[in-house]
């Protein structure tokens, strides 16, 4: 559990995983995984996690309970490009 703003990038989260450089050799945590966090709004504490990218999964923000948010804060959302 860490304060909500404690980790600010995907790489920072990966570096907090034990033996992540070794694991990344096989799983490529940087490119194949996204960072998610479960936030307790009351305490402003968050549990960070890594989740594998897969086509059927949409990484959307959800509210499973009151004062609890599950979100993917560092996911780069692809925005449609408009021709000027």
């Amino acid at each position: 559990m860490k304060p909500v703003g404690k980790l600010s990038t995907h790489t920072e989260v990966i570096m907090n995983v034990w033996q992540s450089p070794q694991i990344s050799r096989y799983l490529d945590l940087q490119n194949n995984y996204v960072t998610g966090r479960i936030v307790n709004l009351k305490t402003q504490m968050a549990a960070y996690f890594l989740e594998k990218k897969r086509p059927e999964k949409k990484f959307l923000t959800t509210h499973p309970e009151k004062d609890i948010i599950i979100e993917y804060p560092f996911l780069i959302q692809k925005t449609p490009v408009h021709d000027s």
Binding site: L27, I38, A47, E65
Partner: protein
């Protein structure tokens, strides 16, 4: 008789008081590694097999027998806190450890008073109680090991030594080291070698069957924990050596050396040789595998009772050899023995914090308490909202690994068959049927060898 009983009662009372102090001062110390083992136990007790999670067949534990025992307790009382169950299970093993250490010292020294000293040192060791409170396999493994050694020292032909060592090897994966060490030593020591081999086959067969079962079930030769730690050598090449030095500093074991050396000089029988060889082998093994991160010298606990027993037996030998001396002549030696015991007792017990290493250890225990009870237990509650039973955050690689493993075996097999068909068989034909068979491969082989021959 009454006087002897009174001493025994008083001594037992002192041991109980020290033990209560140790347990109270360590407190509710839990480790995440224990919870990993308990996860396997829970699945086993629910009938899902020894798996970590739904469909996640990875050998993430290295304490099969302990995991199974906890699973049994969970089956009987599924609603009870697993840590409470494990601590109840730990109690008989603690008593066994004390009883076995008493027997071990008794088999090395002739006076039971010195067995009492061994037990006091054991009770003063905070590391032993920390290991018991966290509920990993360390204490059950050590208890079985010391029981097996004490039986072997009492009677080198005891039939129970090997089965107990097999149980110890099932309790902890690296228990195969004392098992094979004992087999080699006992085989060299015995005069009835053939009989010894026949007698040990059933026990070793049980171990081999278990090893083959886990290899087949999980698909890997060693547990996952071995592969996870195999990178430690690359990242921290001196960790094993540093671990050994830090353990020596925080426990003060150098003070045991003079008495142990005296014991070996005075009493060079198979028991002392066995003990010394095992201690040396174990220390080298711990340094080789890179020690451990847990703050209670976990990897050195199995040799602690042997060190205490050898030390007490050394003091006993020293006092026996001074029988014809007067008290003034005896007193420096007695004072030296007492000082050694006091030194180790004070260094081992957390009541006296003597070194930075010991202080670091106690701080680390506090940190782990916070990490497990606040961080992990709270996080687990939150994660139950994210992952429903049967779901995963990432699909397992296991299926892919198994396919790759089988593919590799298939390719290797095909290569061997191809080699046989193209090279070995024509040569065999050539040898048996003279020069009638001249295959292209053979011609190639010959021309290749001609090219290699210097002109």
């Amino acid at each position: 008789m009454l006087k002897k009983n009174l001493w025994t009662i008083l001594f037992t009372f002192i041991l109980i008081v020290i033990s209560f102090y140790q347990i109270k001062s360590i407190g509710d110390f839990r480790l995440d590694d224990s919870y990993i083992t308990f996860s396997f136990s829970k699945n086993l007790s629910l009938g899902n097999g020894p798996v970590y999670s739904h469909d996640l067949k990875v050998e993430g534990y290295s304490n099969f027998l302990w995991m199974t025992l906890v699973a049994g307790a969970m089956k009987i009382a599924p609603q009870t806190d697993v840590y409470l169950l494990a601590r109840i299970l730990m109690l008989p093993f603690m008593l066994l450890l004390f009883g076995a250490t008493f027997k071990l010292t008794r088999s090395l020294s002739s006076l039971s008073f010195f067995s009492g000293i061994s037990l006091t040192l054991l009770a003063l060791s905070s590391d032993i109680f920390a290991a018991a409170v966290v509920c990993l396999e360390t204490i059950p493994y050590t208890a079985l090991l010391i029981l097996a050694f004490s039986l072997y020292f009492e009677d080198s032909k005891n039939r129970w030594t090997l089965p107990i060592l097999v149980a110890a090897a099932l309790m902890r994966i690296d228990g195969f080291i004392p098992l094979f060490f004992f087999c080699a030593f006992a085989w060299f020591h015995t005069n009835e070698k053939k009989k010894w081999i026949i007698r040990s086959i059933p026990s070793l067969l049980v171990y081999c069957l278990w090893f083959m079962w886990r290899w087949e079930y999980y698909g890997f030769l060693f547990p996952n924990t071995y592969y996870a730690k195999s990178q430690i050598h690359t990242i921290l090449p001196n960790r094993g050596y540093e671990y050994a030095v830090a353990s020596l500093k925080s426990t003060g074991f150098l003070a045991a050396l003079p008495l142990i050396i005296y014991m070996i000089i005075k009493n060079r029988n198979y028991k002392t040789v066995f003990s010394l060889l095992f201690i040396t082998l174990h220390i080298f093994y711990v340094i080789h595998v890179g020690g451990d991160w847990m703050p209670f010298e976990r990897f050195f606990i199995p040799i602690l009772p042997i060190i205490f027993s050898l030390m007490s037996a050394g003091a006993c030998e020293m006092i026996k050899s001074l029988r014809n001396f007067n008290w003034i002549q005896k007193s420096p030696f007695i004072a030296f023995s007492l000082m050694s015991f006091l030194f180790i007792g004070i260094f081992s017990c957390r009541f006296f914090i003597n070194t930075n290493e010991e202080k670091g250890k106690i701080d680390f225990i506090q940190l782990q308490k916070y990490h497990v009870q606040i961080n992990l237990v709270e996080t687990a509650k939150l994660f139950s909202l994210l992952i429903k039973p049967g779901e995963k955050l990432f699909p397992t690689m296991r299926v892919l690994l198994r396919i790759l493993q089988k593919l590799m075996l298939l390719i290797c097999g095909a290569c061997v068959i191809l080699k046989l068909l193209t090279e070995v068989l024509p040569l065999v034909f050539h040898l048996f049927m003279g020069s009638h068979v001249q295959s292209a491969t053979l011609k190639n082989n010959l021309s290749f060898s001609i090219q290699l021959t210097p002109s």
